[in-house]
Each structure stands twice: as structure tokens, then as C-alpha cells.
């Protein structure tokens, strides 16, 4: 596993910068733009920031998983808002993990090369992912994404509506916070339960109707004896 920070573009530079923990370098040296998977996000998409208001920005985490990214390798990226740039725009800090096939993401990277401000956001992000508090549903969504089977294809922790590329997602975000989306199995179980309830209701209704009409002759049943000669 190779891990990097994608640093907030506070000075509105032309190139995004990254750090392997020890030194800072252009992100393109680590991950060629042409190799970035379609729909790859270098931060928290604007639609999430808009949709989740008034959730405090610092709570929001956005994660992406590309299981079959480059010759079978995986790409995992977690982002968080990290303050503002020189003209007051929200900027983002991301933890980028380049993984071998079937390798499990670990959230562990030095902040030594980061500025004091960026390091504070980086440490807070790692703390949330390594020792999540029970009420941190955003961190939980990222950890669930980590465990998601690769067969799901490219996935995000939270559903996106404005992404150019479709993603499988685990949670839906809104003003009320995060809600876990029903999985196919759970959806099937719910549908089956509704169907059974309907069948039971129809059965009860038919029984009641039959009881209300006692004058009707009951159906006689009979048996046919089959005798072989």
C-alpha cells in the first residue's frame, strides 16, 4: 500500500500538491492525471456540501473506492473539508491509498511534511477513521465502504446525484444527516414481508366473507375409489 495526502489548494496554485508524509510534491508525480479513474474526486463534491447544510463542514467525509482501477490494483480515497483558500472558497484534504489487489486500506500516514494547519485536519481525519466515536456516522460510512466487496465496482460512501460517473453507494445524505441505504437483500426481504402480509390480509378477508354467508351450501367433497381389476 502506498499512502499520500492530497493537500488543500489554499494558495490557488495551478497544480494540486500531495505528500507521502516526508515531502511535498505535485500530485501528478504520484498519480498521472490520465491514470485517474473517471469520476475520481480530489475532495468533497460541492453537491454534498450543499445537501448536508447545516451539518458542520468538518463532520463531512467523502470516500471513493475503485476496486479494479489499474491492472487489478485498487484506489481508495477519503476527503474532508479543510478550511478555506485565499478567496474564501472551501478547500479539501484527502488521504489517497494506492493498493494491491485484495489489500485492505489502512489509515496511517505521517503528517511531518504538512503545514501546521493541514496537519491538524490530517490528524483529525486519521483519528476519526482509526478510533471512530459511536455517533460518528460519517466515519462509519467510510469504514463500511472499506469492507465493501470489490464485486460492487466503483463505489462511494455517500450517494451522489450530480456525478458524471455512476457509483454504487451505501448511504444517502441530507439535512437530517446520513441514512443507510437498503441493500438489495434487505429490499427483497422487505418486499417479501409486504407480499406475505397482503396474502394474509386477503385470506382473512375471504374467511370473514365466508362466515358472513352461512346460507350458502358448503362445498361437498368426495373421494373417488380406484379399483383395479
Amino acid at each position: 500500500m502506498r499512502a499520500y495526502w492530497i493537500l488543500p489548494n489554499r494558495q490557488q496554485k495551478d497544480d494540486l500538491l500531495a505528500s507521502d508524509g516526508a515531502k511535498v510534491m505535485p500530485l501528478r508525480q504520484i498519480l498521472e492525471p490520465k491514470l485517474r479513474p473517471p469520476g475520481f474526486s480530489h475532495g468533497v463534491p460541492a453537491e454534498l456540501l450543499e445537501r448536508c447544510a447545516p451539518t458542520p463542514l468538518a463532520q463531512i467525509l467523502f470516500a471513493q473506492k475503485f476496486p479494479d482501477w489499474n491492472a487489478g490494483r485498487q484506489l481508495f480515497c477519503v476527503s474532508t473539508p479543510a478550511g478555506v483558500d485565499s478567496s474564501g472558497r472551501i478547500v479539501h484534504l484527502s488521504l489517497l491509498l494506492l493498493l494491491e489487489q485484495n489489500e485492505r486500506p489502512r489509515f496511517d500516514l505521517s503528517c511531518a511534511a504538512l503545514s501546521e494547519l493541514d496537519a491538524a485536519y490530517a490528524r483529525a481525519l486519521m483519528r476519526r477513521l482509526t478510533t471512530p466515536s459511536p455517533d460518528d456516522c460519517w466515519a462509519e460510512s467510510v469504514l463500511r465502504l472499506r469492507e465493501l466487496p470489490s464485486s460492487r465496482g466503483p463505489a462511494t460512501n455517500v450517494e451522489l446525484q450530480r456525478s458524471v460517473v455512476p457509483f454504487y453507494s451505501l448511504y444517502a445524505a441530507g439535512t437530517a444527516g446520513l441514512t443507510r441505504k437498503a441493500t438489495t437483500w434487505r429490499k427483497l426481504r422487505t418486499r417479501s414481508a409486504i407480499f406475505l402480509l397482503l396474502v394474509a390480509a386477503v385470506g382473512v378477508w375471504l374467511c370473514e366473507r365466508a362466515c358472513q354467508h352461512p346460507s350458502r351450501p358448503s362445498t361437498s367433497t368426495g373421494a373417488i375409489a380406484w379399483r383395479s381389476s
Binding site: 480530489h42 478547500v91 460517473v165
Partner: protein, 221 residues
């Protein structure tokens, strides 16, 4: 003017440019909403809902454009060169607006090796992949802050004219053999509504005139 109104109707536009050049603000202006005080450095290409644009012209006419399939994208070179980056945004556009700032112009960032020039080099390689006849217009944003910081307006105007001329000549020679697709550069302010309205009127007329001229030349030639 009616011909220009008809021509613009239903056109698809793409907005690209360096980070913090004013792409989001341009989008906000087109949508007739105020520029948000705090907004985000775009992290990925995001679809924007279709929206109508109503441009009030000085002669009480309006231009109605339906912006469909708009994608908002970041300005760092990382987005420019990514597979779902600028090229995807521009591919179906009839008009590509390249947004830069007056600061970029005055600091001559259009000279070889510098950011604006790199973007224009990229544009030259992208043009064959864009819609046939797609036009390119340069918007030079943030003129308002430059006006505020100058006192000798004549000297400033002369300086701007000189730099604009240089940029114009450079773009025309660089985009050869597609120089006819370039419709000019306009100074604008996304922040100042008055300057914006006047400038965007000029832009929409200039783009149409350039299109008309190219068509006329093609027919004559």
C-alpha cells in the same frame, strides 16, 4: 440582432479556465443568482441542472438560452488533463468560454511555458476533438478589482490595450489552422453586475459576428 438571438438559442456552452478565475461565478451569473460568499474549490466534475438564461440587451431585447448538460469542473491542471476532465466538458459544446483574470494578462501568463499558454496549447490539441465549428472566446475576469486599484485610468487603459493586443496575436498564431474559431477576448467582471451585463452583451454579439463572418468567408472561398 434577431439573427444573433436565433443563433444563440439552444446553444451549448462549456466554461473552463484556471482555478479561481471565476468559472463558478460565471455560472452563477448565467443562472441569475448572486455569487455565494463561500463556495467550494470544485473537487470533481459535477452535473448542473438545466437552467434557462435570459440576457437583457440594451435595446430591450432578450436572449433566451437553455443551458443543458452543463458540467462544472475544477481549474487545476490535474482536471484539465484527467480523462473525465476538460475535454469531456468541451466535447459537445458549441462555444467554449475560457476564463482567465486581468492579473494573468498583466503578468503575461500567456507567454510560452506559463499557465495560460499551457492551457491554450491544450486547447489546440483539443480542438480537433471538439464539435465541428465549435467557437472559443476568452473572458478576462476581475477587471473591477484592477479599476479600484488604479488612479491613472488612461495609463491603465493603454497598458491593457497593449497586453490585449499581444494576447490576441499570440492566440491567433497559436491556434493556426483553427484561428477562425477564436472569436476574441473580452474584459469582464463576474462580481460587478453592471460591468458583467455590458460585457456579456458584447460577448454574445462578438461570438455571433465571428460565426457569421466565418460562414460568409467559407461560402465566398
Amino acid at each position: 440582432m434577431q439573427a444573433a438571438l436565433d443563433w444563440w438559442s439552444g446553444k451549448k456552452i462549456a466554461v473552463i479556465g484556471p482555478t479561481a478565475s471565476g468559472k463558478d461565478s460565471f455560472l452563477a451569473r448565467l443562472q441569475n443568482r448572486e455569487i455565494p460568499l463561500i463556495h467550494s474549490n470544485s473537487a470533481m466534475g459535477e452535473k448542473v441542472k438545466s437552467f434557462p438564461v435570459k440576457l437583457a440587451l440594451s435595446n430591450r431585447q432578450t436572449i433566451d438560452i437553455m443551458c443543458k448538460g452543463v458540467i462544472n469542473i475544477g481549474g487545476e491542471t490535474d482536471y484539465r488533463d484527467a480523462p473525465s476532465g476538460w475535454l469531456e466538458v468541451c466535447r459537445d459544446a458549441d462555444v467554449v468560454f475560457y476564463v482567465m483574470t486581468v492579473n494573468d494578462l498583466l503578468r503575461k501568463k500567456f507567454l510560452k511555458g506559463r499557465r495560460i499558454r499551457q492551457d491554450l496549447d491544450w486547447l489546440l490539441t483539443a480542438l480537433p476533438h471538439l464539435k465541428q465549428g465549435a467557437l472559443v472566446h476568452i473572458l478576462i475576469n476581475k477587471i473591477d478589482s484592477q479599476i479600484e486599484s488604479h488612479t491613472d485610468y488612461q495609463a491603465f487603459a493603454d497598458e491593457l490595450a497593449q497586453h490585449l493586443g499581444e494576447l490576441d496575436r499570440m492566440v491567433r498564431s497559436l491556434l493556426d489552422p483553427y484561428e477562425a474559431r477564436y472569436t476574441g477576448a473580452t474584459l469582464i467582471s463576474m462580481k460587478n453586475k453592471q460591468i458583467y451585463t455590458r460585457a456579456i452583451n458584447l460577448v454574445f454579439r462578438a461570438v455571433y459576428s465571428a460565426f457569421h463572418e466565418t460562414t460568409r468567408r467559407r461560402k465566398a472561398g
